[in-house]
Symmetry: C2
Subunit: 464 residues, 2 copies
C-alpha cells in the first residue's frame, strides 16, 4: 500500500506529464483555436451561472462558520463571494478582454540574414507549463486560465480550499469549453491538495514556471521549496523620498495617496524618507495630512522632535505618533501605519531604499532634475518614480490590458507583468540553399563563406 | 575559533555585500566610465604580458605533472595555455570588441503617456551581481570581466584551480585598470575556493544570477545547489530528423556537419531520426558518409537491418555499427558516436525529440513547407532549424558580436545569449504636472481622470 505522500507524488507526476504532453500537442494546433476556446468558456460559464452561484453559497456558508469561530477574517470571507457587486460580469468581461488582446506569441523580435538564403528568426512563444497557486478569490481560476490559454501555456491551477465548491464548477466550465476545441483537455488542470503542490514543485522536468498569487508567507514558502523559476513578489515595501527641493503640494499629495488610497495593496508606501532640511517646513504639513487620514506614524528621533515642535497640539498626536524602532523599516504594514526616517542627503536616501526596499516601487518628490535622474538610476527597484504615487505600479495603469502579477525578481520579467511575461522565445533558422547550409563551410580562410548578418524586417516568421 | 566552513561563509558574505554595494554605487557613475575601464584594462594586460606568460608557464608545469600522473588530459592542459597560437591577442581584441558593441543598458523598450504629463518608460538596465564559475581556460576571466563591465553588472569570478597563477595576474590587471576609473574596486572580484562558491550560492540577497561555464557536472551541481537563477546549459543533446521528403544531398551534408565538424561542442548532433520511408534510399548514403568520417553508429533494429541489406560490405561495418539500447538516446556522446532511431511519422519525430532532446537545437531536413512549419512549432527547443546544421547555434554565428553562453532554460534568455542576456529592465514614471500625479484621482466615475495610454516614441529616457 502506498503512503499518502507517495500517492500524491505519483499523482503529481501524472498531472505534470499530462500537462507537458498537452502543451506539446497544443503547439501543432492553429492559434485561432485559443480564441475559440476563450469564447466557448464564456458561454459555458454563463450557462452554469446559477449552479456556480449555488456552489459559491456553500463555500460562503462554510466560511461563515469559520468567521464565527474566529478562524477566518470577514475580509477573507468577502473575497470568496462571487455573487456580490459586479464580480461575475467583470470576470466574464475579463476573459473577453484577454481574448481581444494582441497575441503575445508568434512575434519576431530579431531577424537576420546570416548568409545568402540562410535566415534566422527569434520568435516569441509560450513558456510551457505554468503552476499557479492562489488563495481565496475563486475568480482567479478563470482569470489565470484565460491568460494561459491566450498565451498558449498549459496550466495547473491550485485554489484555496475555502473556495473549492466554486472553483470545482468554474474548472468544469473551463474544461467543457476546451472540449469544444482541438486543445487537449489536460491543457488546464486543477488540483486540490497541498501535497500535490509540494510534489509538483519538485518536477522541473514538467513545470516551467511557478506563479504564486497570495500572501507573503505563501510566496516565501514556494520560493524556498522549488528550483523551478518563481514569478511574483513576497513583500511590497515601497518608499517615498522627499528630496531637499520637494514641492510641498506634491509632497502632501504623493505621500497621502501612496499610503492611504489602498493600504493593503503591495504598491502602497510603507516608509517615508525625509531630507533633514524639510523637517520644520514640509514635514509638519505632510504629517498633518496623514494624521487627518488616521495614519499612525512611527518616527525616528529627528522627525518626532520636529512634530513636537511644530504640531504639538494636534489631537491625534498621543495616539498616532510613536518612536520607530529598527523593525519599523523593512516592514510591510499593509495598514494605515507609516514609518518615517530622516536622511542627510539624496545619496543617503538611495542607500536607505536599496537596503530596506523590497525592490518593488519607490518614488522621489523633487523639483531637481539631477536628483530625479540620480534617484532613478541609483534605486535598484522595478519601479522608480518622480512626483507620482507608488500606487501607479500596476499592469492596468501601465496600459498592459491585463496583469499576470508583479515581479520583484530581476530575471525574465520585472515589475507589473502583462501577457508578455508568459512568453519566451525560440530561434528558427531556415536554409533555402540548394544543398542546405553547413557550418564547416564558414570561416576566415580563402574560399570559405562569410557571415553577412543583414537585418531582416519581419513582424512574423514567413514559413510558419 | 571558527571552522573552515564558517570562515568561508563569513568571507562569502563580505564578498557578496561588497559586490552588491559596488554595483549600487556604480549606477551613479556615468556609463562612459565603463568604456574607459575596458581600455585601461587592455593597457594593463599588455603591460603585464610577460609576467602573465611566466605565471602561465607555472600553471602549465603543474599541469604537466598532472598529465604525467594520468590525472589530467592533454586537452585540458592545452586549454590552460595562454601563450600558444593567437590566444593572447584574441583575448585583448575580444575586450576591445566588447567595448565597441552597442550599450545593452539604457534602451527604452516600452514608453507610454499614461495621462497628460505622466510618462512611463521601460528601460534596460544591468541585472546586479553575477557569479560566474568556469573551468580551465584562464582567458575566461578577462572575457567575462569585459562583458560584466560593458553591461554594468558587478561580477564575482571563480576560475579553475589549475590556472590560478595565471588568473591571479589577469585579475590584478583588471583591478589596476578599474582603479583608474570611478568604478569601485569591488566591481570585479575573484575568488579561489569551492567553499566560497558554495557559500555564495546561498546568498540570494547579494547574487542575482549565476553563470556556470564548464562541464555538465559543474553545471548540474550548481543548478542543484542554489535558489539563485542559473543561466546556461548542462547537456547539449541535439537531433537531426530526416523527413519523408528530405533531399539526399542536404541530408548527407547536414548530418555529417552536425555530427563531425566539432563533436565535443554542445551544438553537435547526438541522435539522428529517420523517417521509415528513407531506410533503403537516403539512409544508406548518409551512413556511408558518416562511416567515411569514422563515426560510430548505434542503430535501432530497422536502421541496422537496412544497412545490413544495403551496405553489407562496407569495411567499417563490424567495428562501427552496433545495436542501440535505451541509453543510446538522450546521451551526450561529445565524440564521433551517433545514435539512430527510425520513426513512422513527423509527429512521432517531434514527440521523440521533445522526450529526448536537451531543448538546445534540433533540425529537420525536408522539402515540405508544412513539415518544416510543424517541426518548428512542435519541437520545444531553443533552436529549431530547417535544412541547416545544428552547429549554427552560436552567438557569433547568430550575429550577437559576443556570446555570454547558451541557455537551455526558458526563462529570461534562451539559446545563444549575447550582452542582452545580462540586462533586465526597470520602469521609470515621471509626472510633470504642477501638483504631481496621484492614483486616487483616476477612475471610471464622473470628474475622475482617465488613463490615455498613448505610445511615446523614444530610444532613451529623456530625464536620465
Amino acid at each position: 500500500m502506498s503512503t499518502p505522500a507517495e500517492s500524491s507524488s505519483s499523482s503529481a507526476t501524472s498531472i505534470g506529464q499530462a500537462a507537458k504532453s498537452a502543451f506539446e500537442r497544443s503547439q501543432l494546433i492553429p492559434t485561432t483555436e485559443r480564441i475559440t476556446a476563450l469564447e466557448a468558456i464564456c458561454t459555458q460559464l454563463e450557462a452554469a451561472r446559477e449552479s456556480i452561484f449555488e456552489a459559491n453559497k456553500l463555500d460562503l456558508q462554510a466560511a461563515q462558520v469559520e468567521v464565527n469561530a474566529g478562524r477566518m477574517s470577514e475580509s477573507v470571507k468577502k473575497r470568496l463571494d462571487l455573487t456580490s457587486t459586479d464580480k461575475w460580469s467583470s470576470m466574464i468581461q475579463g476573459v473577453r478582454d484577454v481574448a481581444a488582446l494582441p497575441d503575445p506569441a508568434g512575434n519576431v523580435t530579431y531577424a537576420s540574414q546570416l548568409h545568402d538564403d540562410l535566415e534566422l528568426y527569434r520568435v516569441s512563444c509560450p513558456i510551457g507549463v505554468l503552476l499557479v497557486i492562489f488563495e481565496a478569490r475563486p475568480e482567479v481560476v478563470v482569470n489565470i486560465a484565460a491568460l494561459a490559454i491566450k498565451s498558449g501555456n498549459a496550466a495547473i491551477l491550485k485554489g484555496g480550499k475555502e473556495s473549492h465548491h466554486t472553483t470545482a464548477l468554474l474548472a468544469q466550465a473551463i474544461a467543457t469549453g476546451l472540449s469544444q476545441t482541438q486543445i487537449p483537455a489536460e491543457f488546464i488542470q486543477t488540483i486540490q491538495t497541498r501535497a500535490e503542490v509540494s510534489s509538483l514543485l519538485q518536477l522541473d522536468q514538467y513545470i516551467d514556471l511557478v506563479i504564486p498569487r497570495g500572501s507573503n508567507s505563501l510566496v516565501k514558502n514556494i520560493q524556498n521549496n522549488t528550483r523551478i523559476p518563481v514569478m511574483g513578489h513576497a513583500d511590497g515595501i515601497c518608499h517615498v523620498y522627499l528630496d531637499e527641493s520637494a514641492d510641498a503640494v506634491k509632497a502632501v499629495r504623493v505621500v497621502v495617496d501612496s499610503k492611504t488610497s489602498y493600504p493593503s495593496a503591495c504598491n502602497s508606501a510603507e516608509t517615508l524618507l525625509i531630507h533633514e532640511s524639510l523637517l520644520s517646513t514640509i514635514w509638519p504639513k505632510v504629517a498633518t495630512a496623514l494624521l487627518e487620514r488616521d495614519v499612525k506614524l512611527q518616527c525616528d528621533e529627528p522627525s518626532i522632535t520636529a512634530l513636537q515642535n511644530h504640531i504639538p497640539s494636534d489631537p491625534r498626536f498621543p495616539s498616532h505618533v510613536s518612536p520607530s524602532n529598527p523593525e519599523s523599516y523593512g516592514t510591510e504594514f499593509l495598514t494605515l501605519t507609516l514609518s518615517i526616517a530622516t536622511v542627510p542627503s539624496l545619496h543617503s536616501a538611495i542607500r536607505f531604499v536599496n537596503l530596506h526596499s523590497s525592490h518593488h516601487t519607490d518614488t522621489i518628490v523633487t523639483e531637481s532634475p539631477s536628483s530625479a535622474s540620480l534617484f532613478c538610476r541609483g534605486v535598484d527597484s522595478a519601479g522608480t518614480f518622480i512626483n507620482a504615487s507608488t500606487r501607479f505600479a500596476d499592469g492596468f495603469r501601465y496600459g498592459f490590458g491585463t496583469e499576470v502579477g508583479i515581479s520583484t525578481g530581476r530575471i525574465h520579467a520585472r515589475g507589473p507583468v502583462g501577457l508578455e511575461g508568459l512568453v519566451t522565445y525560440k530561434y528558427m533558422l531556415r536554409s533555402r540553399a540548394e544543398d542546405g547550409h553547413i557550418a564547416d563551410e564558414f570561416g576566415a580562410g580563402e574560399g570559405q563563406k562569410r557571415f553577412t548578418h543583414t537585418k531582416i524586417e519581419a513582424a512574423d516568421v514567413p514559413f510558419l
